[in-house]
Structure formats: structure tokens, C-alpha cells
């Protein structure tokens, strides 16, 4: 707990507040002040809190990041943007925490689909936003959520109407270009009953120290099917907090793919609430090099019977990087016939790399099938010899096996443009000697 940092932010709040969206909405004002108060009391989360015990965010506390009040889209390099913006997708771009209509591509989006900036949504359909904002993310959970609630400058509001099947993905591209900037966005995604859609959240930034503090609330309504990809490729000097809080209604299906590659210090929360007979699949791949610290925190709440959850997180850690996986599965007393499987596999490529893994099962029902498994290890010597006996030199064998370990997660991506970009990034982060992309 560092309230000194908190009071520095709080002191500036009064000057910033008038420029924040939704100032005329009493419910939002109340929510923001409640959040501000919580953050002022607590500061950023401390390693003394159980769910932050492996992640010390004092690096963030030492700096003072400033929100940018208005959009400065002109300094986004078009070529650079192109390397992240997917073709064959609708894309919405947020620059330094503000929606940019100029950079977004929403041609031919079906009229019934809403894709609005949060500022716009609060101005045009405040009642609709009120129904969702703060309903999946609980700001008393930890103070990053409170921080985001008090400070969010903009964000995206996406609503897919009932029964609509979107044939192209929607990419939500979060860009930070300012040094010492903070990008606090609040995003809401709703897939209404029986809708089907693929969304991609991409987080990137220029080579600066900055803070992303994004909260995304996701609502998958009855029998809807939503796949959400998160591609976190922040600058290697950046701090990233990204929370995804998902509420699944009865029979809803949700798949999350979390690619955590960037940031000096990055933390993701993926928390899912499962209603009756709903299904979720959480996949994750974290790659750490140099002194990166990458923390993934997942929680799956089985609240009702017959829900299924599958989780696989894999980490590859080199140099002095540290990866953290904390996965909690909570099975409520009513959630009979729960079927849950959680796995975390870590590959350490150097003696100085570290993996901290903590799977937790909390089961209150008595008729359930739950399992979990964890491994932390190095490359398998038997596999290396097998490849050598097939003419592959040792260095190439190691690179192939490292790549293969990570590629299991990349292969799960169903969107070609995204698959290819993620693959490029995986290859770029590890020695490529002998790994021939053309053969994949």
C-alpha cells in the first residue's frame, strides 16, 4: 500500500475530472467518486495482498503517469500502425486512451451492431451503458479496477445484437504513443442472445515508459458464442494492467486467448462467471525475455450446475524474466456436475529465469470433476537427442522445441491475419536459427 502515490494522483484529479466523459451523469459521478475514494485509501495493489504476492508494482508507483485529455492521432505512424491493424477485420483504434475515428475502419459494419467510443455511448445511450458498466468488474476487487473507474478517459462500447453472426472479427486496437502517458480505457462488449462473434484486443505502444490500465467487461448472453483474443505487445519499457471480466449467461460459450508478450511489467486478470451449462476455454501464452515480469491471474467461478471450463496457460521464460500464473477455480455449492480442467506449463530457458505458479481449486459442491496440473521445466534431453539423430544440430533442436512448445497456443488462433502476426512475434522473441518459417 502506497498512499503517497495515491495522493499524488488524487491531487491532480480535480483538474482532470471536468474533461472526463459522462460528467453530467449522476450515477457515473457517484461511481467515479466511490472509486477515487477507494484508490486514495489503498493506492495500487501491494504484494501483501494474496493475489498480488508475486508481483511488485513499485515501478509504477515511482513514476507519475499523466492522462492525455484529448486525442493526438496525428503522431501515429501509419506504417507502424499497419503492422498491427488487421486486414479483413473491422478495427477501432484508441490512441492514448481516446477513440480515433480517423484511424478506425468500420465500413460495411452491419447497422444493428453498435461500435461506439465510450464517450459517445455515454452521451447517446447512457441508460444502456449504465446497465453494464461495473456489473462484471467489481471495483472493490482491487484498486487497479478502482483506478480505471475513476480515471477512464474513453474506451469502446460494442454490442452485437441477438442472433447475429458476425462474419469478420472486430479488432479493438489500443495504442499509446506518449512518454509517461497513461491510457485508462473502459470497454464493454456484449454478445446478445445467440449472437456469435470474434473480437481482438490489441495493446501496443511506441518505445516509451507508459502505463496502460484497461478494464474490459464482457457479457455473453444466453446461448451466445464469443471468442476474445488479447494480443499484448506493449513496449518493453511499459507497464500494463489489463483486466477482462466476463459474465456468461446460461448455455453461453466463451473462449479467451491471451498472448502476453510485451511490457516491462504486465499483469492480466481474466475472471469468468459461469451460469448453468455454460462453457469457457481460457488459453494463454506468455513469453518473457530480459527482465520482463509477466503475471496472469485467472479466476473461473462455477456458480451453477453443468458448466465446463478448460484452461491451458503456457509460459516460456528466458534471461532474467519472471512469469507468474495464478489460476483459481471456485465451484459454488450449487454448481453440481461441474467439469473443470486447469493446466499451466512453464519452460525455463535460462538459470536466471523464474516461474511462479499457483493453481487453486476451491470446491464447495460434492459431485464434480475437477483437475489441475502444473509443470516447470527445461527442454527435454530425450527430445533433443531424437532430433539430433534426425540430422538436426543441437542449437536448432533447442530452438525447434522451444518454438513447438509455444506454437501449440499459436495454432489455436482461427483468424489467419492474427495467427501470422502472433507467429512473427513468437519467432522474433526467441533464437530462430534453424527454425524455418516456410516449412510451418
Amino acid at each position: 500500500m502506497n498512499t503517497a502515490t495515491a495522493s499524488r494522483y488524487t491531487a491532480e484529479y480535480q483538474t482532470i475530472a471536468p474533461a472526463l466523459p459522462g460528467q453530467t451523469l449522476p450515477w457515473l459521478q457517484a461511481l467515479r467518486y466511490e472509486a477515487l475514494e477507494k484508490f486514495s485509501e489503498q493506492g495500487f495493489p501491494s504484494p501483501r495482498e494474496e493475489e498480488w504476492r508475486y508481483t511488485n508494482i513499485s515501478g509504477i508507483e515511482k513514476k507519475l503517469f499523466s492522462p492525455l485529455i484529448s486525442l493526438t492521432a496525428s503522431d501515429v505512424d501509419a506504417e507502424w500502425l499497419k503492422s498491427y491493424q488487421l486486414e479483413d477485420a473491422w478495427s477501432v483504434v484508441l490512441v492514448n486512451g481516446h477513440f480515433s475515428a480517423e484511424l478506425s475502419v468500420l465500413d460495411d459494419l452491419p447497422e444493428t451492431v453498435s461500435v461506439l467510443s465510450m464517450a459517445d455511448a455515454l452521451a447517446k445511450q447512457p441508460d444502456n451503458v449504465e446497465k453494464y458498466l461495473g456489473r462484471a468488474a467489481n471495483q472493490s476487487e482491487h484498486s487497479f479496477i478502482a483506478f480505471n473507474t475513476a480515471w477512464f478517459t474513453d474506451g469502446l462500447f460494442v454490442h452485437i445484437p441477438a442472433k447475429l453472426v458476425l462474419d469478420k472479427p472486430i479488432q479493438l486496437l489500443h495504442i499509446v504513443t506518449g512518454a509517461d502517458a497513461m491510457a485508462t480505457t473502459r470497454n464493454i462488449i456484449i454478445a446478445d442472445e445467440m449472437a456469435e462473434a470474434n473480437l481482438i484486443e490489441t495493446f501496443v505502444g511506441t518505445d516509451n515508459a507508459y502505463l496502460t490500465a484497461a478494464v474490459t467487461e464482457v457479457f455473453v448472453e444466453q446461448n451466445a458464442n464469443l471468442t476474445l483474443y488479447k494480443m499484448q505487445s506493449e513496449s518493453e519499457k511499459a507497464y500494463h494492467f489489463g483486466g477482462s471480466y466476463i459474465k456468461q449467461a446460461r448455455d453461453a460459450r466463451f473462449t479467451h486467448h491471451n498472448f502476453a508478450f510485451g511490457g516491462l511489467l504486465a499483469r492480466s486478470d481474466i475472471h469468468v462467471d459461469l451460469d448453468q451449462a455454460s462453457e469457457c476455454e481460457l488459453n494463454g501464452l506468455y513469453l518473457g525475455v530480459k527482465r520482463q515480469h509477466i503475471d496472469n491471474h485467472t479466476r473461473i467461478n462455477h456458480l451453477k450446475p453443468h458448466a465446463i471450463s478448460r484452461e491451458l496457460y503456457k509460459g516460456v521464460l528466458d534471461d532474467r524474466a519472471r512469469g507468474v500464473f495464478q489460476g483459481r477455480v471456485i465451484v459454488a455449492i450449487d454448481a453440481q456436475k461441474t467439469d473443470s480442467q486447469m493446466n499451466n506449463r512453464n519452460l525455463l530457458l535460462s538459470d536466471d529465469a523464474e516461474a511462479d505458479t499457483k493453481p487453486q481449486l476451491e470446491i464447495y459442491a460434492d459431485d464434480v470433476k475437477c483437475g489441475h496440473g502444473v509443470t516447470v521445466g527445461q527442454l527435454d534431453e530425450k527430445s533433443i537427442f531424437y532430433l539430433q539423430s534426425r540430422c538436426v544440430d543441437e542449437e536448432t533442436a533447442r530452438n525447434m522445441l522451444t518454438f513447438a512448445f509455444a506454437n501449440e497456443m499459436v495454432d489455436k488462433i482461427k483468424i489467419k491475419g492474427l495467427h501470422d502476426r502472433v507467429l512473427e512475434q513468437v519467432l522474433a522473441r526467441f533464437p530462430q536459427q534453424g527454425v524455418n518459417k516456410e516449412w510451418l
Partner: protein, 249 residues
């Protein structure tokens, strides 16, 4: 092709091979038989360069070169192929990727350009048909989820494509049902040529019904205690290993 002279090998402080002598000429098939723990697998591992063994004496000369000096991948590129007793599963690396990487390593080693993509595919598909395998195997991860028979067949597929000069087959028949054994044997027989030699390490005589060896050697307590022609295998089948072990003692 291969000349092994007075080869001594230890694992840690424990001697396993205690003076092996073996001459293998081009085109010959040699079967190495012996009871469990006799050192059969150690011999095939040492020849292919697996770590964890210390050569304490003797030599192995392959085509005039010191085999034991070479890294495992150099031996493989020079034409030594080990068919594993327990082929390793490599999740995430497809069969076809490994085949292509291996073949191109050999070509590079021999100063040849990379294989043409279409020629490669034609070659691979022909061999797949020969071994009665499903083409889908090519695109699956190496040995992952394969049955025991499929794994052994996959070893022979690799052998057929890489065209080695010296094939060391470590307990290829163990765990195979008779149909798989026939297919594997046909695959091996189709690869027999005056330029290619085989060392077949086996516990059971059954394999030799399908692949007829020129020579049979019995390994016991780290030494070759008896050598003979194909008929020696039948004698072993009938009498067991104890009589040769006793004779040697």
C-alpha cells in the same frame, strides 16, 4: 562400412560393454541378440551418439572416420540412422517439417541445394504409400498420439526418405503385432541394397523370420560370446540364451 574394435563403454563407474569387436561390410545385415541387460541398447546408443555413456577404450570406425568423435547430428548426416526402441513424441513439430529439415541438413552436409518442394512431396507420398500409412500422419506432430506400431512405421518412413548407409535398429520388433511387423519388415527389405548395411538389435528371433540376417551375434555380459549365420538365431529360439551364456562363462 563399420569396424568396431575392442569397444569398452561405461555408464558412470559401471562397465557395460567390455570389449566389443564387430566388422560390418556394405550390404550386410547383422543381428545382435541377447538377453535383457546384456548391453544391446547401449551399443546402439553409443554408435548413434547418445549422451550419458563414457567410452573407456577401443574404437568405432565408420567409412574410415572416427565415429565416436562425431556429434550425433553429424553421424546422422554422414548416413548413420538409429531407429529408436521408443520413438520420442515431439508435440508442435509436424512430421513433414522434421522430414524436410532432416533431408535438407543431409543435402547441405553433402554440398547439395535444398530439396525442391514438389519433388519432396512426391517422394514423401510414395514412401507413405509403401508403408501403408495415412497421408494425414505427415501433418501430425511427430509421434504424438501414435500407437506403438505407428511409431515404428514412422521410424521406417524416416529411414526410407533419408536413405542412410548404416541403419541401426534398436528393438524394432518389440511391441509390434504381426501385421505391423510384416509392414515394417517389408519396408526394411525394400531398403536393402549392396550399399546399405543394417545392425538389428533384437531380443526376439521372430523379426529374423521376416528380415533374414547374414550374421547373428550373441551379446552377453557386455561381450559378443558367439557369432554365426542366420541358423544361430533359430538355435537361440529353441534353446534360449542360457546355453551361450554358460558356454561363455
Amino acid at each position: 562400412m563399420l569396424s568396431i574394435k575392442n569397444l569398452h563403454v561405461s555408464v558412470g563407474d559401471k562397465p557395460i560393454l567390455k570389449g566389443i569387436n564387430l566388422e560390418i561390410k556394405a550390404g550386410e545385415i547383422h543381428a545382435i541378440m541377447g538377453p535383457n541387460g546384456s548391453g544391446k541398447s547401449t551399443l546402439s546408443h553409443v554408435l548413434s551418439g547418445k549422451g550419458g555413456y563414457t567410452v573407456t577404450g577401443g574404437s568405432a570406425t565408420y567409412q574410415g572416420k572416427d565415429l565416436l568423435e562425431m556429434a550425433p547430428e553429424i553421424r546422422a548426416r554422414e548416413g548413420v540412422f538409429l531407429a529408436f526402441q521408443y520413438p520420442v513424441e515431439i508435440p508442435g513439430v509436424s512430421n513433414i517439417y522434421l522430414l524436410k529439415a532432416a533431408l535438407n541438413s543431409i543435402r547441405k552436409h553433402n554440398g547439395q541445394p535444398e530439396v525442391d518442394a514438389m519433388d519432396f512431396l512426391t517422394l514423401v507420398k510414395e514412401k507413405v504409400r509403401l508403408l501403408e500409412m495415412d497421408e494425414k500422419f505427415l501433418y501430425r506432430a511427430v509421434n504424438e498420439g501414435f500407437s506403438g506400431g505407428e511409431k515404428k512405421r514412422n521410424e521406417i518412413l524416416q529411414m526410407a526418405i533419408l536413405e542412410p548407409k548404416l541403419c541401426i535398429m534398436d528393438e524394432t520388433d518389440s511391441g509390434l503385432d504381426i501385421d505391423a511387423l510384416k509392414i515394417v519388415s517389408e519396408g526394411v527389405n525394400s531398403l536393402r541394397s549392396p550399399e546399405r548395411s543394417f545392425v538389428m538389435v533384437t531380443h526376439y528371433q521372430r523379426l529374423l523370420d521376416y528380415i533374414k540376417p547374414d550374421f547373428v551375434h550373441v551379446l552377453a555380459h557386455g561381450q559378443i560370446v558367439k557369432s554365426g549365420g542366420a541358423e544361430l538365431a533359430l538355435e537361440l529360439e529353441e534353446k534360449g540364451y542360457s546355453w551361450v551364456e554358460e558356454a561363455a562363462a
